[in-house]
């Protein structure tokens, strides 16, 4: 260990272990806390954790190595991660990174010799509407400017703890620019649960306890409320908001009807798709709505165990979310006896540690169970055998929020909004070249053009819909509608103004997928790297038309053979870009013919390093 650690590993790790059960499923949660305490997971900690949980060291090392925010090596007293989404780049993060590194005297990706600070890039931090953004010791710093960087350098030089930094550095805005029927007013905790439990009964009753038959022992009304709520969910035709659009009611019913002990309700708050930040806003301002949706789900599918799986980038929301859960327990909305009915349900929070793949259902479940976030075999589906192989509903934050409102207001109310096959409203995360980036709620079926008009994005040349894994659309497609019928989307819209070089997005996105590939299957593990090599070759001005053909061929193979959605969608942006913005590629081409990827001069680099030569004669 080159630098003094923040504390001796034994001293720091033991209290963390004491807070967790001796259950291998706790592994990731323990490692996250160790990382926060020590700014690394050193070998001594690996040994302690492995011994405590009775798992192998290699297993612990494997989990540490999988997650981007867990590091075997010390990251410095101040660990700085700069968000590196294309929207951060558009706001000048690369120049700021260079400036920050030169001011600190640190090399990008390395820890300064005195162990004080390190600076590195990370995938999108979900602050695209207020970037360029960074995480400093896990806390988000927004709207970086040269002035802000200067202040940060002063604070680091003066060894000021991050807790004593100016609070405005950490100010995260909701930027909720347009609300519609779902998020128009504050949510009243308990309202949806009461409505669900009383549904189908005497609607004049205000108080649940008045319905004496709600006693689960007698069962009739108890079951009636759950069944009637499921019917409302069917009536609403709510489709999953994570992008795939699977009907929530079918998922809930399948879970309920699958035998297999106690079920799980999992809320996916791992929004890793670059350009997406709605979960952050919903959990900041409408956390009750989400937790209530989860609780209604628990009631409908007969589950007592809820899990919120949330990305590490939102660690700063920990105290807030825990407070909301505590308040709900006090109010009888969570716990062993919800609203006095005997219904038991509680929610615990599981933290991700930097892995886009964990947004994928089965990878998330592996991660919840404390392992590497590797997708499971395709069958059985999580709804049949999910967490601990129990039937598990996994829905995303926005889906649970909508489900809560449907329980309250009914399915017909919800289905009256949106389109035939995409009912209700949807949150859109708008960022990039526009005057008013932020969150917009629209009924499904809104056109891209309308969103662009509302956010003040005149003259946009392209929009990346649904993130890098989604669709790139051109100006001529702006009348297309955002709905499952046309542009299915997780809600992400990154706008590119008329002067942007779209090849920068291609580079950013392809490197993103290479970095996030879990490594399980051949086409994604190797394919994402082959694609990066080809894109970099074109970027270096050494590409030719053959390279575009090669990219298209590889893309097709990945789409057909990759194990999960990550590898299948990773090449989408490349195919779109080549089909719709070919001049962007051709402008960089060295030749219209074949160019070999092998670069003789670059191949001599190692020989130059070994011989310590860098004179003209050592180059071609």
């Amino acid at each position: 260990m080159p630098h003094a650690l923040l504390a001796p590993p034994q001293e720091a790790v033991q209290p963390i272990l004491d807070r967790h059960a001796r259950d291998p499923q706790e592994l990731l949660q323990i490692l996250v806390e160790v990382q926060h305490a020590l700014h690394c997971v050193p070998p001594e900690a690996v040994d302690l954790v492995a011994e405590y949980l009775d798992v192998t060291r290699a297993h612990v090392r494997g989990v540490v190595g999988f997650y981007a925010f867990l590091s075997p090596a010390y990251l410095g007293d101040y660990a700085i991660y700069l968000s590196d989404n294309i929207t951060d780049r558009m706001l000048g993060n690369r120049e700021l990174a260079e400036y920050l590194c030169s001011r600190l005297g640190v090399k990008l990706g390395k820890v300064r010799a005195d162990g004080r600070v390190s600076v590195r890039f990370t995938s999108c931090t979900g602050l695209c509407d207020q970037g360029p953004a960074a995480l400093v010791n896990g806390l988000p710093v927004t709207r970086l400017t040269r002035e802000r960087v200067d202040r940060m350098v002063e604070l680091i030089t003066a060894r000021k703890p991050v807790s004593a930094w100016p609070p405005e550095f950490f100010q995260v805005e909701d930027n909720f620019r347009r609300s519609d029927v779902l998020f128009r007013r504050p949510f009243e905790p308990g309202a949806a649960l009461k409505a669900a439990m009383l549904r189908g009964g005497d609607e004049t009753l205000k108080d649940i306890q008045q319905e004496e038959a709600l006693d689960p022992a007698s069962g009739t009304l108890w079951k009636r409320g759950a069944d009637e709520t499921l019917k409302e969910l069917y009536r609403s035709d709510l489709r999953g908001r994570g992008g795939a659009g699977f009907k929530a009611a079918i998922k809930w019913e399948t879970c309920r009807d699958t035998p297999g002990g106690d079920r799980y309700v999992v809320c996916n708050a791992d929004e890793g798709e670059p350009g997406t930040f709605k979960d952050r806003v919903v959990l900041t301002t409408y956390a009750d709505m989400v937790f209530e949706g989860m609780t209604v789900c628990g009631y409908v599918v007969d589950s007592s165990r809820g899990i919120l799986y949330i990305r590490q980038e939102y660690w700063y929301l920990k105290a807030h979310l825990e407070a909301v859960l505590a308040r709900r327990r006090e109010a009888g909305l969570l716990g062993r006896n919800i609203l006095g009915t005997g219904f038991a349900f509680d929610i615990e929070i599981h933290w991700g540690a930097g892995a886009y793949i964990c947004g994928m259902e089965s990878a998330m479940i592996e991660s919840i169970e404390g392992r590497r976030g590797k997708p499971r075999k395709r069958w059985p589906l999580p709804v049949v055998a999910g967490v601990e192989r129990a039937p598990t509903v996994v829905n995303n934050v926005e889906t649970f929020a909508a489900a809560g409102m449907i329980a309250l207001k009914g399915g017909a109310w919800f289905a009256a909004h949106g389109t035939m096959h995409s009912t209700g409203t949807k949150l859109f995360c708008v960022s990039g070249d526009c005057e008013r980036p932020g969150i917009y709620e629209y009924p499904f079926g809104v056109s891209v053009r309308e969103v662009l008009r509302d956010c003040g994005a005149c003259g946009a040349q392209a929009v990346q819909v649904s993130g890098p894994s989604g669709t790139t659309i051109t100006r001529s497609e702006f009348d297309r509608i955002l709905a499952f019928e046309d542009l299915a989307t997780v809600g992400t819209m990154m706008v590119f103004g008329p002067d942007r070089d779209l090849f920068e997005a291609v580079e950013n996105f392809s490197h993103f997928f290479q970095h996030e590939s879990c490594g399980l299957c051949t086409p994604c593990r190797v394919g994402t790297s082959l694609l990066v090599n080809l894109v970099d070759k074109v970027a270096a001005g050494k590409g030719g038309p053959m390279d575009l053909i090669e990219i298209q061929k590889l893309s097709q193979i990945m789409k057909t053979t990759a194990h999960c959605g990550l590898g299948q969608t990773a090449p989408n942006h490349l195919l779109d870009s080549i089909a719709k913005f070919r001049p962007v590629w051709e402008a960089r081409m060295m030749t219209r013919e074949f160019e070999p990827a092998f670069d003789l001069d670059a191949a001599l680099d190692e020989a130059r390093q070994l011989t310590g030569r860098d004179d003209a004669a050592a180059h071609l």
């Binding site: 090392r61 494997g62 892995a355 590497r372 970095h515 590939s517 490594g519 190797v526 193979i557 053979t561």
Partner: protein, 244 residues
């Protein structure tokens, strides 16, 4: 058990039993589906993706796809062969495979599959990744250069030997197999020659020492029998042993 259910594989009617995968039913009927990460003796893993087939128009890994009556499945098509060829070339450029000097040559599933698919070259530029060789153990050499991350050693050590000697570390293109021991070296691990995991590597990554040339080149498994014939033969022999 229902023996009468069938699906169609490249137009041929294939019988299957409930719970059987497309892969198992096809192999039992004598149809070879190329594969590298799957060993029919163990649970499938569906990571190499070579066994991708088209089921009713959609691609699935045959090794984990349950057979369903009436399915129309494509396996031996020029398109799938081309995909399998490219997936195999990916494995060749990702690692560092030196067939001419590798003592596994002739018994190597990667090499034999490449021959079967008609691969003439690696096509893609080599990655030249730096990977650790662990020759510390008196009985084994673990050469990560030749590892194709099929996970056989890991799964068999965990599920059959109950020793958990191996684990996957890092992710993406940097994924590698690590060894459970205080030093991370095989010599300090619990791996022994008696372990099943010591003998399941389909390529030349985990090799027994001092056995390299006991069988001369030219007389090795796939020198004598092409992999598509050998795989089906082995599969049927195992089925017969199991069902007596």
């Amino acid at each position: 058990m229902d023996h009468t259910k069938t699906f169609f594989l490249d137009g041929r009617e294939i019988p299957f039993k409930d719970g059987q995968t497309v892969f198992d039913a096809a192999m039992a009927a004598g149809v070879y589906i190329p594969h590298l990460c799957h060993n029919p003796a163990y649970e499938p893993h569906s990571s190499c993706r070579l066994c991708t087939v088209i089921v009713n128009g959609r691609p699935f890994a045959a090794c984990t796809q349950p057979a369903v009556a009436g399915q129309m499945i494509q396996n031996d098509t020029p398109e799938l062969k081309e995909m399998r060829r490219i997936l195999t070339q990916m494995l060749f450029v990702e690692g560092n495979h030196y067939c001419p000097t590798c003592e596994k040559s002739g018994s190597c599933k990667l090499q034999a599959t490449a021959y079967d698919l008609g691969i003439q070259d690696n096509h893609f530029p080599q990655f030249f990744q730096r990977r650790e060789v662990d020759a510390s153990h008196p009985d084994f050499v673990f050469d990560r250069d030749r590892c194709i991350l099929c996970g056989h050693c890991l799964r068999v050590s965990r599920d059959v030997d109950k020793k958990n000697v191996f684990a996957m570390a890092h992710r993406g293109i940097k994924t590698e197999i690590v060894v459970d021991s205080p030093t991370g070296l095989l010599k300090d691990s619990r791996l022994s020659v008696e372990d099943e995991a010591a003998h399941v590597c389909p390529v030349g990554a985990l090799m027994l020492k001092r056995t390299g040339f006991t069988i001369p080149i030219g007389a090795r498994t796939y020198d004598r029998t092409p992999i598509r014939v050998d795989s089906v033969k082995n599969f049927k022999a195992r089925e017969e042993r199991r069902h007596g």
